[in-house]
Point group: D2
Chain length 265, copies 4
C-alpha cells in the first residue's frame, strides 16, 4: 500500500514532497504596509470576497520548518526557505480578512505545502538583511536606527525592493496580516474541454495553532515594485508607503477551514 | 474576473505558473533500461495497476517548452528545464502500461504542469552530457563510440549516475516508455480529520499529440543509484542494467484520459 | 609535496579548482555585433591599448569543457557552463585586437580558469535558446527564420537580453572576436599600503590551438542592456545594433602570450 | 583611467568583484574540533609550515559582509554568504598556527576576496540550522540542549555533515582557530613551460581588526565526511570527534602579513 501525504506516494511514505501535517514553523519577517490602487486591489479578489480597502502589506520571511517527528531543521536544506508574499484587504461575508494574490518561495517543499493551503506559490529568490546582534558595519542591530533591506526576484528579474528602519516597539502587527487570511485552493483539470473547470476551486481560511510572536519593531519604510512582462505584481505597486515592521513568529499548521466551494456546476 | 490555468489567478491571467494548454515540448533524452527487484517494483504500484515485470527505465531529459502563443523559448529561463524520471512496468485492466513512481525537475513551471498531469514531481538537479557535433576532447559525437553521462541530485545529495556509449541506431524506443504512461493525479485535503482523504486521487493516462522522434541511438550503459535517508529511489535500484539510448523528441500536451477515481467514499 | 595548478593545492592534486592545462572546450555561441558610444568604449581600455572604433560584440555561449584526461564531460556539472562576454575594439601597438571589459560565467571552475587567462569573470546567469533539430513551437530550427534568444542576469537583476533571427550562412565570424583577444591578468595585494599595487598586472594575448568552427549563421538581431546600480555594462549599451550570429566552435587552451607588464615600479 | 580593486577594472570602479578594503564581516559559526590521521594532516601542509598535531576544526559559517561605504547588507544577495572551512594545526618557525587546506563559499564576491587572502575557495553549498530565539519544534534555542546541524555539498555531492548539541558556555574558542591562521596566496602562470612556476606563491598570515566575539556555547558533536571521487576532504576525515561550538563574531580585514615567498628562482 502506498503511503504519504502528497506525491510521490511510496511504500514507506518517506518520499512525499510534503509529509503528513502537523507542520511546525519559526521565522523572522520584514514587512511593509502600503496602499495600492483601489481598483487594482479589487480586480485581484476571487469570487466570494469583496473589496474592503486599498491597504496592502508585503512580507519578506526567513523560515525554518519541521514536520512532527522529522527534525528537518538538522538537515537544513530540507527545512529552511525564504518567502515573499503580498496580502491585500478584503471582506468575506461582511467581516474583514486578508487575501494573498501572489507569493514566492525558494524550496519545493514549501511550494507543495503552500499549494495544499491555497497559497499561489511560485519559485522566487528572496533576500533579507540579518542582524547578528553585534555592532558592525556589516549589519544592523535590532533596535532604534537598525536598517534592514529585502529583495525579491523571479526567473532572473528583480521584482521588489524594500527597506525598513526600526524606530520603536509596538504591540500591533502590520495590517493586513495572517490572522484571518483567506486563500483559494485550486487544482485544474487537463482533460480536453474541462481546462476551465478545475477539480478543486474553493475559498479556505487558514488555521494555525501554538502561535508565538516576538517583540514587534516598527519604523519607516521604502518599497518599490519593478515592471515585469508577465508577472502582475506591478499592478499592485505602492501609491503610498506606510510603516515597516520586523518580528519573529512561530506557528503550527494542521487544519484549514472550508469557506466556499467556487466550482460552478 | 480572475483568469489563468493554475495559481496564481489574476486579472490579466498572465501570472499563472502554468498557462492554459496546449503545452509544446522538444527535448533530448538519455535513457537506460534495467531490471529492479520484482517485489520492490510491485510495492510502488498504485491501486488499479497490477505487476507486469521487473523491467524499468530511467530517463534523463533536457527540455525546452513553450505555450501556444508565449514563445517562452525566447526567454529561455521560462522554457528550459532538465528532468530525471523513472518508469516501471505495470498492467491496467490486463494491458501493458508504464507508471512513474518518482521524477525530478529543476523549474517550478515544469513542476506545476507535471502535477496537473499526475507526475509526482520534486525539484532536483539533472545534468546530461551534450554533443556539439564537433570532434573534441570536451564532448562526444552522436555516433558509434560516443559516450554520454547523466547525474541526478536532490537537496545536495547525489541520487543517480548513468553513462551510455552509443553503438548503433534502432527503431525501438526503450521499454517501458511514455507511449502508454499512467500517472496518479493527487491533491490532498488539509482540513483536520481528512488528511488521508485527498480531494483528487485518480489514475490517468497521458495523452500527447504531434509526436516526433529523432533517430534513436542505442548502446551499452551503466547505472547506479545511491543510498538516501528518505527518498526511496534506491529501493528500485538496478539488479541488471540493460541497454542505453539517446534520442530527441517533440510532443504537444493538452489532454488527459481519466482511467479510475481512486477516492474511497 | 602539494600538487595542483590552482588552489587548493593538495597531496594528490585532484582538488585544484582548475586542473593543469590543456583545457579543451566545445560550445555554441549566439553573438550580436553593435556600436556603443565611442568615448565609453575608450574609457574601458586598459593602459597599453588604444581606441580603435566603437564596434563591440556580445557573446552568449553554452560551453562544455574537459581537462586532458579528466573526461569531466561525463560528470557534466563539472564540465558545462554558460557565459556572457563583451568584446570591444582596440589596438595594441598599432594592430587591431579585441578587449573584454566584462564577462559572466555560472561555474567556479570556469571562473578560475578565466582569471588565469585574464578574463574578468564574475558569476552570472546566462540562458540561451536551444535548437533540437526538430520543427516545434517549443524551439527554432537552425536555418532561415530560426529565432534564438539569450539573457544575462547577475545577483537577481537582469542585465541584458538579445534575439537573433537566422537568415543565411556566412564565412565571417562577428567582429570583434576571440581571434586576437587581449586580456588583463590581475591579482591584487592586500598588505596595507599596497592595495593599489597589484602583484600581477599585465596585458596578455590569448592563445588557442586546434580551433574548429562550424557553419556560421547570420541574421538580424535585437540587443538591450538594462540599468544597474553598480555594474557598468549599461555604459557600453548599444547605440546601433548590427548583425546577429550563431555558430559552434571547439578549441584547446594551454598557453598565453605576455604583451606588457603594467605594474609601475 | 581604470579603477577598482579586483577584476573587472572599469571607469567608475564600481564593478570590481571585490571592492577596495576594508571589508567588514559579521557572522555565526558552528564548529567541530576533531583529530584526523596525523600523516594525512602533515601531507596537506605547504612548504614553510611544519607538522604540529593531528588536531583539526571544521567551521560552518553564516556571514554578512559590507565594504566601507557600500552598505551591501541592504541588498543582501551582495552581502550574505555561507562558508565551510577546515583548519589544521601547524607551526611556522616554531610557533603554533592554523592552516586552511580547503574551503567552500556560495558567492563569487566571497570567493574573490578569499583568493586575495590566500583562502583556497571553491563554490559549495553550506546549510546551517538557525535559532529564532523562540521555543518550537522547527528550531533549537541557543542554550543547553539546543541541537544544531550543518551540511556541505559541492557540485551535487554531499561532502560533510555535522551536529552540535549545546551544553554550556565557555571562554575558549575551538582550536585550531582564525587567531593565527596562515594561508598560501597563489596565482598561476599559463604561459607554456611555466605552468608549475606560479606568478604568486607565498605564505601569508591573516590580519583582522575590530574583532568581537559573542558568548561561546560548547557541547557534544558529531561529524562525518563522505567519500568523493576527486575532492580530498575525506583524507582529513575525523578519527576522533571532539567538542562542538556555536558563536558569533565580527571583524574587519584590510591587511595581511607576508611570511615567506615560496617561489623557486
Amino acid at each position: 500500500m502506498l503511503k504519504g501525504y502528497t506525491l510521490p506516494l511510496t511504500p514507506r511514505g518517506t518520499s512525499s514532497l510534503a509529509p503528513m501535517p502537523p507542520w511546525h514553523y519559526v521565522g523572522t519577517c520584514l514587512a511593509v504596509e502600503y496602499e495600492a490602487n483601489a481598483e487594482a486591489v479589487a480586480s485581484f479578489l476571487p469570487p466570494g470576497l469583496d473589496f474592503h480597502s486599498s491597504r496592502c502589506a508585503v512580507y519578506f520571511c526567513d523560515w525554518q520548518y519541521s514536520s512532527e517527528s522529522g527534525e528537518e531543521y538538522l538537515d537544513p536544506i530540507r527545512s529552511q526557505y525564504r518567502e515573499t508574499l503580498l496580502l491585500i484587504s478584503a471582506t468575506f461575508q461582511g467581516s474583514h480578512c486578508a487575501y494573498c494574490p501572489m507569493i514566492w518561495v525558494d524550496q519545493d517543499v514549501a511550494l507543495m505545502r503552500g499549494l495544499t493551503q491555497g497559497w499561489p506559490k511560485q519559485i522566487g529568490s528572496t533576500w533579507i538583511t540579518r542582524s547578528f546582534d553585534m555592532p558592525s558595519k556589516a549589519g544592523p542591530m535590532v533596535g532604534p536606527g537598525g536598517k534592514f533591506g529585502a529583495t525579491l526576484a523571479a526567473k532572473d528579474r528583480r521584482l521588489a525592493e524594500a527597506t525598513v528602519t526600526l524606530r520603536e516597539t509596538t504591540t500591533q502587527l502590520p495590517t493586513p496580516n495572517f490572522a484571518r487570511a483567506v486563500n483559494m485552493r485550486h487544482f485544474p483539470e487537463l482533460v480536453a474541454g474541462r481546462h476551465d473547470r478545475p477539480a478543486v476551486h474553493e475559498l479556505v481560511q487558514l488555521k494555525s495553532r501554538d502561535v508565538q510572536i516576538s517583540t514587534i519593531w516598527k519604523g519607516e519604510a521604502s518599497l518599490q515594485y519593478f515592471d515585469h512582462p508577465y508577472l502582475e505584481l506591478f499592478s499592485l505597486r505602492p501609491e503610498k508607503v506606510g510603516d515597516g515592521y520586523r518580528f519573529s513568529f512561530a506557528l503550527t499548521v494542521d487544519d484549514l477551514l472550508l469557506l466556499q466551494d467556487l466550482r460552478t456546476p
